[in-house]
Structures are given as C-alpha cells and as structure tokens.
C-alpha cells in the first residue's frame, strides 16, 4: 500500500487543532481518498465515493462507457428523489450538436441554448455516506447505479457539462460594475474572460478616444468591394458627410466597375451595390442610417456589397432595381 504523505500530514494537523474525536473522522476521509486514487480492491462499497463497485471504477480508469451523469453526486436532503435526471439525457444530444458546431458562437448563444438549469432538487437518491459513523455530513440513502444508458464518452461528457451550465442570473444582475452590467444584459458572462477592469476600460476608451480625438488622430478603416481583387483603406476623418465619403469611394473603386453607369454606381442610392459597414459590436449595418458623427465613431470597416447579397439590408435598393439580381 502506498503511504500517502498527505494523509499523515493532515492527520498531524488534525491532532494539533482538533479534539481527539475528530482525528478518527479525518483519517477516514483520507482513507477514502486513497481508495479512489489507487483503485484498490477493498470492499468498501458503502464507502465508495462514486457509489458503485470496483467494476465501475475500472471503467472510469479505462475511459470507456463513461456515464458520469449516473455517478454524479447531487445535492439534497436524505430520502428524496431526483426528478431531473432522465430529462437531461434527452437534452444532451441537442447540446452536443450546439457545442460541437459552435466555433462561431458568442457567449450569448451558449447561455440561451443551455438545455437545463443546475437544479437543486430535493434528492438524496444517489448519495452515499462517506463514513458510516462520525461523519461530518451524511445522508442515509443507498448507492444508485444507473447502467441503463452507456452513452458514448462524448455525449455523456458534453451533456453533463452543458446541463450543469447555469449562469445564475442573480450574479449577473448583482454586478455593480457598469461595464459588466452592459455585458450581462447582452447575454455575456460576468467576469469572463478574466480580464482586469483596468485593461477592459483601456481598450474601451482607446476606441472612443481614437474617434473623438481632434486633429492628430485618423480613423482608417478598410473598405472591401465584392469582386475586387484587393481592399482599400480610407481615413474617415477627412470626410465630412456621407455624400463626401460615397463619392470618394466611387472614385476609388471605379476601376473595378467598368461598364456601370453613374446611377448604377451610386453607392448611397444606387441599385447595383450597397454600402455597408461593420460596427463596434460586429454587426453588419447599412451606411446612412445614423448621423455622420455617430457613424465615424462606430464604423470598423466597410464593405461594398452587391445588392443581391444584401437584400435583407437594403429593401430600397431592391425596390428601385429592375429585378436584376
């Protein structure tokens, strides 16, 4: 048997700090730990942390047929049942798909699609005593072994993870920091990613500062045009209005639009192309809706789209157009 030095050390500490009766309990706890880590063949069924036999333990160590949900410990008073266990499995597959395909999701999607809440049913159904006597906190229920669904590792793992994902709305609302309450209202998670406020504020003010600063700062944004081989960059600061910007862009990209008449090339009102931009939040917007100053403050890049691609953004373009796609 391996000698577990942590066991000895904590035993010593217990001795120094606690009345003798305690010593018995603490050694027991560590005894349990050893069992878990060494998978020894001691018949400690009723002590077994995860509530099952050694066979189950081996399964876990061999990473096969993992059914973490069934062996998962839940909270609750003794003698009550867990109503949610079975429904979670059903939600699992959907959650798996979402999580797996989620390369492009934002945090808000994660929150909206999480399939269940981290509920706290009154259940003791799967709990086991750690120790028979002198336990710090015990429940009197018997071990529960649920072998009926040998899910694949992926699904079990993912579904239990997504099931457990509840971001308590309270902690979102309770956050008093202005930046974070904005984030929370957008469906973002408080305090995640773990970036200090100073840095967050610096990044935020950096952007507004760039746009608001007079004179020395320029606001260069990329402009792409569908079908053009390369992009251009313009300094929004040198223009004073949408008309100004639009005519400059038209001149810039005229070489790529041979054959189009002036009216067709008109970016603001024309029907062939639509001028769009990406704002601070990453959304694709139609140029021209907001006041010019607000536009220069929030525009990150621009895109000259073919109106066929932009049908949902630019109904007036479609209406004006002759039905040409």
């Amino acid at each position: 048997m391996r000698v577990d030095s942590s066991q000895k050390l904590s035993g010593t500490i217990s001795f120094l700090l606690f009345p003798p009766g305690y010593l018995h309990c603490s050694f027991h706890f560590f005894h349990v730990c050893k069992t878990l880590s060494s998978s020894m063949s001691m018949s400690l069924k009723e002590f077994d942390y995860i509530g099952s036999s050694e066979a189950k333990m081996e399964k876990i160590t061999h990473k096969q047929d993992l059914n973490l949900k069934a062996t998962e410990l839940r909270l609750g008073l003794p003698g009550s049942e867990s109503p949610e266990r079975n429904t979670i499995n059903g939600g699992g597959m959907a959650a798996l798909k979402i999580l797996v395909s989620g390369a492009k999701r934002g945090f808000s999607d994660t929150i909206k699609t999480s399939s269940g809440t981290w509920g706290f049913p009154d259940n003791g159904g799967s709990e086991v005593d750690f120790v028979k006597s002198g336990a710090l906190f015990s429940s009197s229920s018997s071990p529960r072994i649920d072998n009926k669904n040998p899910n694949s590792v992926k699904e079990a793992v993912v579904s239990s993870s997504t099931k457990n994902y509840l971001h308590d709305k309270h902690s979102q609302i309770a956050s008093s920091n202005g930046q974070d309450s904005v984030a929370a209202s957008k469906g973002q998670v408080v305090g995640w990613p773990p970036i200090r406020s100073f840095r967050k504020n610096s990044m935020a003010t950096k952007q507004t500062k760039n746009d608001v600063e007079m004179g020395s700062n320029c606001v260069y944004v990329k402009v792409s045009m569908d079908g053009a081989p390369y992009l251009r960059k313009v300094d929004l600061k040198i223009y004073s209005s949408y008309l100004d910007l639009s005519s400059a862009l038209e001149k810039m990209f005229s070489s790529f639009t041979l054959g189009l008449s002036e009216s067709q090339m008109d970016l603001l009102n024309g029907s062939e192309y639509v001028l769009t931009y990406e704002d601070k939040d990453g959304d694709l917007m139609l140029v021209g809706d907001v006041p010019w100053d607000m536009f220069t403050a929030s525009c990150k890049r621009m895109r000259i789209m073919k109106s066929s691609d932009a049908s949902c953004l630019a109904p007036r373009a479609m209406a004006k157009g002759s039905g040409r796609n």
């Binding site: 904590s10 730990c33 880590s37 410990l73 999580l99 934002g106 906190f137 793992v157 994902y165 308590d168």
Partner: protein, 580 residues
C-alpha cells in the same frame, strides 16, 4: 562549552534569510530562536488581511520596516466580488502608525485605501520610503497630494492598475522643491493630466530616478524632453504614443532614446501610431522587459520589434502579434522566460486575429527558458497541450484562457482533460495553473495525482461532480489558493476535505453548488476558518438550507470573525445573530 551561539551571532546569521518561508521555519525551531527571530524580522507579508489582526502582528514583530498586505480575493479583479465586501486598509494603517513609527515601506494589493489612510501614512512615518498600491481603490488624487507633500524621504510611489478618483493632476505639484529622493514613479493608471512643468522639474531634480511610468495623458511630444532629463532610466512607461507625423518629433525621439543607455524595460504605448515605433528600435537589443499589451499595433510591426529583442526575458503583448509574430519570437528571443498574450477583442466570438495554439507551441519549442505563460486564445487541442508540456517541463506558471467557456479540443471535440493532464505530468515544478475549455472530472484526477507542487489553481466552467473538487483537495499537497467559478462542485467534497482548508490560504467558490447548510456546518466544525457566504439576494433568511449560495469565500484565520462585513456577507457557523 557554549550551549548556543550568542544572540548577536544568530541575529547576524538570520539577517541573511530573506524568504518569509525560511524565517517562519527558523522561528519554529525552539523558543529562543523564535524570540530572536521575531526581534530581527524586518519585512512582513500578510497574504490575507483578515487572517490575522494588526495588533497580533505588532506584538510579535516589534521592529518591522516593511509591511505588505493583500485584501480581496483574486477573483475581485474580474468583478466577482461585490463592491463593499471589505479589504479596508485603514484599520491596519491606524495600528501600524501606532506600532511602527519607523516603518519605511507599505505595499497593498486589492485593498480599499481611503484618502484618510494616505494622509495618515504621510504623517505617521518619519522615514517613509516606499508606497506601492496594486489594484487598490477608494482614494483620490487628494490622497496622493498628501503623500507628495509630506513624505520627505519618499523613494517609490507606484500605482499599479488602481481605480483612483481623479480630481485633478495637481497632486504632482505638491512634491516640494527640496524633494530629490525619487527613484520610482508609476502613475500609469491615472487619467488626468499632470502639470507638465511640474513633472519636468520633478524628473530634473531626481538624479536617482530609475523607473518612470507615465500616464496616457502625457503626450508623445513631451517624451523626448523627459528622456533628456533622465537618461539614467532603467524602466520607462511611455504615455500616449501617438502624434501627427512630424520628422522633427521622430528625430528628437530617436535621439532621446539612444541616450538612455540603461533602459531595460519599456511599457505604455497607448494609442500607438506605427510610424513612431522605429524610434526605439535601437533600444531593443538591450531590453529585458517589453509590455506592448496596450499597443494596438499589427503583426508585421510587432514581429519586427520582437525580432530585434535578443535579450528579452518578459514579453506582454496583444494577440495582434499572431502566430507569425510568436514564431519570430521563438526564433529571436532565446532568453524568454515569461510570455503574456492578451486578447484584443475578447467579447467577439469570431477570431479577429490569426492567433491560435500554434503560436504558443512555437514559443514552447524555441524558448528553452520559458517558465511562465498567460495565453488568451480561441482554440486549443490536446495535442498542442501535450507538445507544450513535453517541450517545456520547466514551466512554473501555466494560465490558458480559451475565450469560450467549455470549448472542446477543436480537432477532436473531446474534452481537454488529457492535454492539461500532460501539463501537470511533465511540468513537475508547476506552481500556478489556470484551466479553461471543456473539462471533466478526469482533469482533476490528473491534477490531484501529479500536481504536487501546485500552489494556486483557477477553475472555471469545468468538471462534472464533486469528485473533481475532491481530487484536487485531497491530492494537491502544496495547494494554498483555490478559486472556482461556475462548476458543479457541492457539499460533499468540501466537507470531506474540511481539514485541507486549514492548510490553505483561501478557497473561493462562486456559482457552484455548495448549500447554506453545508457552509454552516463547515463553519461550526472548523473554528480556524472563516466561512463567508457572499449573497446579494433578498430574503436570504427564508432561502432553504439546501439551496446553493451565490459565492463562498473560505479562509483560515487567527483573527476570528470579522466585523466590517456588509449585509450581504455572513460568516457562517459562528454564533452569529444575523443568521440562525
């Protein structure tokens, strides 16, 4: 025959011991060593200001010159600790002012420091030399004015990422003309503009000035002037690094930089205009520390810079550096020990830069001295983690933040258990670890089994059951700080490992599954712990005992329950009138 060394000899021997741990060990040898050691201890570090009370400290160590205190838990940096929780410096300052009139140094981290405290500091210590406030809040520039005006022998004034009420920049002008002892000034976190002529004169009359970190309000045009006045600088934090492009400014900057032969560390670089970057290229080969983490420069410029910094030891940079830049880093900077890559646009799901796990893998391959990593990115894989672990078994700090919670291995869609498992297996001296991505209980099994030197562990959105927490608490022998958020860890593991908690500095758990009842039991059974429940919901008393608490902060203490708690913080299990 001498039974023991004379006291003077022992004292002299002890004076070579600087580490806290060594001193603590020495004091446990026997009573006479305890006595001797306590009289000659000069520096005190209190990692949790609620673990001990100042009277006890002063009684035991009567002749202290330097005090360092930390207040709020680490997760307060990310707004997880509600305002008003605590961490007040004033009670400590009052006692210290009384007990250590000859105190020279105060360092506070994550504490609430009021103007009153600063005024008291400025008036109580005749020989006060060093004030460092990191991530502190609660004071205004008036408090700084008091420090400037009254601390005649001040050498170091550093404000690192503090939240200061910026009433005006006038505080700097309070340094008297006779004040010439300044060695280090860090005002990077202040917003308002200081009087430039006052700053100029201050720098001019401080021949020992080695560290100067300006704030964003100091324009680039003024930098050459300051550098001309302080060519002896070792660390410089620029102010705003942008200006209209003028050749005269370019050349004066270039000239000023080239005069600073001792410059080893650069930071600042807010609002960078790339045209001015070449001004400090000549410094690059000498640099050991470079903080470009506020510089929104793109990869080509960043690559060019790092490629010239052959002696670089620590680099902090934004993810604009991209994989290509990190590759260049790995080829040019063979002395690199610490790398921190921060996200430029963390709240957007789509990657705005080409920074992937590959960047870190390259650095792990090319930089043999790499010990400390903080890396924010959007994707990772088990194979990358394993490669990094095998390349760099000498890692001591590994903090990986995959921006999306619960993101799996992007190649196999599996959890990242085995990858992090490799890290703890190979990096036997790992002291600090932060996890992210999709993780099951298995990663905790690996950690509990292998991470024997782990001192601090940060966990978020991970694990499946109490088993995970149990593995960590029972296996990590050296663990002192554990912080957990949004994990399904509950009562069982916590109560089963109650003893472990007394061997640790603190445990933070928020949005987990620990019930009120369990907290109460824990608090009752463990008199050496404060089990603080932080919960801002209303009608707390009517919430059932088996309901989970919002946030939980458990720490060992000899100071007993604290009495400066707001209504939403309760210490459980003591004879507490507020909670039945």
């Amino acid at each position: 025959m001498a039974y023991s060394f004379p006291e003077e000899v022992l004292e002299h021997v002890f004076s070579f011991l600087s580490s806290e741990k060594d001193r603590n060990a020495v004091s446990l040898v026997c009573k006479s060593w305890y006595e001797m050691e306590r009289w000659c201890r000069r520096r005190i570090f209190v990692g949790n200001c609620y673990a001990v009370n100042p009277k006890i400290m002063i009684r035991r160590f009567p002749e202290v010159k330097s005090v360092e205190l930390k207040g709020k838990p680490h997760f307060a940096d990310f707004n997880l600790v509600p305002e008003g929780w605590g961490g007040y410096a004033y009670p400590w300052i009052v006692e210290i002012a009384r007990g250590y009139p000859w105190l020279e140094e105060i360092r506070l981290k994550r504490m609430v420091v009021t103007d009153e405290s600063l005024e008291l500091i400025s008036k109580s210590f005749k020989n006060f030399k060093v004030l460092v406030l990191s991530s502190c809040e609660g004071f205004s520039t008036d408090g700084l004015a008091a420090i400037a005006a009254n601390c005649r022998n001040l050498r170091v004034l550093e404000l690192r990422e503090c939240e200061v009420e910026d009433l005006s920049g006038h505080w700097l002008s309070h340094f008297p003309d006779s004040f010439t002892s300044l060695e280090s000034l860090n005002m990077g976190c202040l917003n308002s503009e200081v009087s430039f002529s006052a700053l100029e004169r201050l720098v001019a009359r401080s021949p020992n000035l080695k560290t100067l970190r300006l704030n964003r309000a100091v324009p680039l045009e003024k930098l050459p002037t300051l550098l001309q006045l302080a060519p002896q600088l070792v660390e410089l934090g620029t102010g705003s690094y942008s200006a209209e492009i003028r050749s005269d400014l370019c050349s004066s900057l270039l000239e000023a930089f080239s005069r600073c032969k001792n410059l080893k560390g650069l930071s600042g670089f807010w609002d960078v205009v790339p045209a001015y970057l070449p001004a400090f290229y000549s410094m690059c080969p000498r640099l050991t520390f470079l903080n470009l983490s506020y510089a929104t420069t793109q990869s080509p410029d960043l690559t060019k810079i790092v490629s010239q910094c052959h002696n670089l030891q620590r680099l902090w940079v934004l993810d604009y550096i991209e994989d290509t830049g990190l590759n260049a880093l790995s080829m040019s900077c063979k002395d690199l020990q610490e790398l921190r890559v921060f996200p430029s646009d963390p709240f957007v799901a789509d990657a705005n830069v080409l920074l992937t796990e590959q960047g870190l893998v390259s650095v792990s391959e090319g930089c043999p001295k790499l010990q400390s990593v903080l890396y924010f990115c959007r994707q990772f894989s088990n194979s990358a983690l394993t490669t990094i672990a095998k390349n760099r078994p000498n890692l001591t700090t590994f903090r990986l933040c995959i921006l999306e919670p619960r993101a799996p291995d992007y190649l196999t869609f599996e959890p990242l258990d085995s990858g992090f498992g490799s890290i703890v297996q190979h990096c036997k001296n790992l002291r600090r670890l932060s996890l992210s991505g999709l993780l099951t209980d298995r990663v905790f099994q690996h950690i509990g089994t292998h991470a024997k030197k782990l001192d601090m562990l940060s966990i978020a959105f991970a694990g499946d059951s109490d088993l995970g927490l149990h593995y960590v608490l029972s296996g990590c022998e050296s663990l002192r700080k554990l912080e957990i958020r949004d994990c399904p860890f509950g009562d069982k593991a916590l109560l089963a490992n109650a003893d472990k908690l007394e061997t640790m500095r603190s445990l933070w758990m928020s949005s987990c599954a620990v019930s009120f009842g369990a907290c109460k039991v824990l608090g009752q059974k463990m008199p050496g712990l404060n089990v603080e429940v932080i919960d801002e919901r209303e009608n707390l008393d009517s919430i059932p005992h088996n309901s989970p608490v919002e946030k939980l902060y458990i720490y060992r203490t000899v100071a007993g329950e604290r009495f400066d708690m707001p209504h939403f913080v309760r210490t459980m299990g003591k004879d507490n009138r507020r909670f039945k």
